[in-house]
């Protein structure tokens, strides 16, 4: 039984997509768990090849060969934006409607990490602030370097909505089978 493509990103809960916005889409069935995405992400953002400072994390279950790259969903109703006391965590409609953190304003309170249901923003021990996926300013390195194309950066249009709908229909179907 296949559950379907898992859409990790794409403005959670949004019904109408706007023009040219792009989102990260993950197909966990293609992921081999090589963690190259973590490496290139840390190199791009910090200059060091240190996956622990990456903005994307690959959850791995080696016993069944299940790998899931997890990045920020840039949610429509972003709890991290709501709870940020300094407005460091904010939305940028001009940049793919991304949710990003202003390094100059972040005080490192980690409230956003606790608020996020996906556990996404990460605390950077060296910079002492919270960091998160910012689509690498429009050219996500994880997408560029993923050999198996498990991560893609595609238009958030109705095609993706259809994919989401398909995935959730399959999910609903599998839930019925489980019950």
């Amino acid at each position: 039984m296949e559950v379907g493509v898992l859409v990790l990103s794409g403005h959670w809960g949004r019904l109408e997509m706007q023009g040219q916005e792009k989102v990260l889409v993950v197909d966990h069935r293609k992921c081999t768990g090589c963690r190259l995405c973590e490496l290139v992400c840390s190199v791009f953002h910090t200059g060091s090849s240190n996956p622990s400072r990456s903005r994307i994390k690959v959850a791995k279950w080696e016993d069944v060969g299940f790998y899931l790259p997890m990045a920020c969903n840039h949610c429509e109703q972003a709890y991290c934006v709501e709870v940020c006391p300094t407005k460091a965590c904010h939305r940028e409609p001009e940049n793919n409607n991304r949710v990003t953190i202003d390094k100059k304003l972040c005080i490192g309170c980690r409230t956003c990490i606790i608020a996020c249901p996906f556990g996404h923003p990460f605390f950077d021990i060296q910079e002492r602030i919270t960091v998160k996926c910012d689509y690498c300013d429009g050219d996500p390195q994880c997408v560029r370097f993923c050999d198996v194309k498990a991560i893609s950066f595609t238009d958030a249009d109705k095609t993706n909505m259809a994919k989401k709908r398909e995935a959730f229909l399959k999910y609903a179907e599998s839930m019925k089978q489980v019950r």
Partner: protein
């Protein structure tokens, strides 16, 4: 004991690790300080006959300070001591001033404002009670207004410690109106006990007088209410969501059971009640009340520590999807392993 589900318990259902002991100390000092200030102002308004002869006299630049208000107005000092713990927990500490920029939606920002106003007004009232200048102590409506505003912000501070956690919608254990209520009642019980200890220690009220008995009775009532609210909080959270249940189980029977049963139940409720009951039979000995007070104050701290450490994030549909996927893949793996094992047996059976 059954096997632990590798996904449910290994990755997603771990309690949060972002807010630890430092935040618990902050929540405790802020709650206890605000609660003691509320009780202190109410005592001050009831105007009991204090016994200032027990208090030492201190001269500052030739002025004799009036210390009779200190044992009931010291609450803002505790809040002012607790607030740096919050700053200590920040990644970049010197940026704490930025924390009030987003009060529209952020409770951290609102808390920064609430605590700042309470500390300023509370310390002003403490300074007023200390300083001997006559022009400060005249009957003035202004001071009454300040007292009322400070009292409101003291309540705000005590409730805020719970709202700060309640605002985290993704943690079912915290996301309930009962948590601010629990922290408020706990602030009042620990605050009233702290006032009992300070007045007992400084001899502000003669032991076993009417005012002292009212204070003791009030504290006992708060402890009973706190116990009821704690029961309601845990039972409601147990039924609220899967992760609410996991949090309560973690607190009662899991890694946190020592903190819950030893720290919260025994130190915070059972021992103080037993000691205070025994103390009622020996009215000449305040030692038992001192012991009960110290234990109850420790219990208040463990309550916040336990609630903080047992916070588990809610499982979102994506997690459920992963669980199903994992189960499907596990079944496939088992089936494959079964086939591999079965074939040799069949071969043997077939001869």
């Amino acid at each position: 004991m059954g096997s632990v589900h590798p996904i449910r318990n290994a990755r997603y259902l771990k309690p949060q690790k972002e807010w630890k002991e430092i935040i618990a100390i902050y929540l405790y000092l802020a709650g206890m300080g605000a609660g003691s200030f509320v009780i202190g102002v109410l005592i001050y308004w009831m105007d009991p006959k204090p016994n200032p002869s027990f208090l030492p006299s201190i001269n500052l630049f030739g002025y004799a300070l009036n210390l009779s208000g200190v044992p009931i107005f010291w609450g803002p000092i505790m809040v002012a001591i607790g607030t740096p713990f919050l700053i200590l927990d920040l990644g970049i500490k010197w940026r704490f001033m930025y924390a009030c920029l987003n009060p529209r939606t952020s409770w951290v920002a609102r808390g920064f404002i609430i605590l700042s106003i309470f500390i300023i007004l509370g310390l002003a009232l403490l300074a007023k009670s200390l300083l001997p200048f006559e022009w400060l102590h005249g009957e003035s409506v202004l001071w009454h207004i300040v007292e009322i505003i400070a009292l409101v912000f003291a309540f705000g501070t005590a409730i805020y410690t719970g709202i700060l956690l309640k605002a985290t919608k993704s943690i079912p254990l915290w996301n309930t109106h009962l948590l601010p209520l629990l922290f408020l009642v706990s602030a009042l019980s620990t605050g009233s006990m702290a006032i009992i200890l300070s007045t007992l220690g400084t001899g502000l009220f003669p032991y076993d007088t009417g005012a002292f008995r009212v204070l003791m009775r009030g504290e006992q009532i708060f402890v009973v209410i706190e116990g009821i609210v704690l029961y309601l909080f845990l039972s409601r959270r147990y039924r609220a969501a899967e992760q609410g249940k996991d949090s309560v189980r973690l607190l009662l029977f899991g890694e946190m059971k020592l903190i819950f049963w030893g720290g919260i139940v025994l130190l915070g409720f059972v021992f103080p009640i037993i000691l205070e009951t025994i103390a009622s039979f020996f009215p000449g000995s305040p030692v038992l009340i001192f012991a009960a007070g110290i234990l109850l104050l420790c219990g208040g701290f463990f309550l916040r520590l336990g609630v903080l450490h047992a916070g588990i994030k809610e499982q979102i549909p994506m997690h459920r999807l992963i669980e199903i996927q994992y189960n499907v893949m596990t079944d496939k793996t088992k089936a494959l392993a079964g086939v591999r094992l079965k074939n040799p047996d069949e071969l043997i059976a077939d001869g």
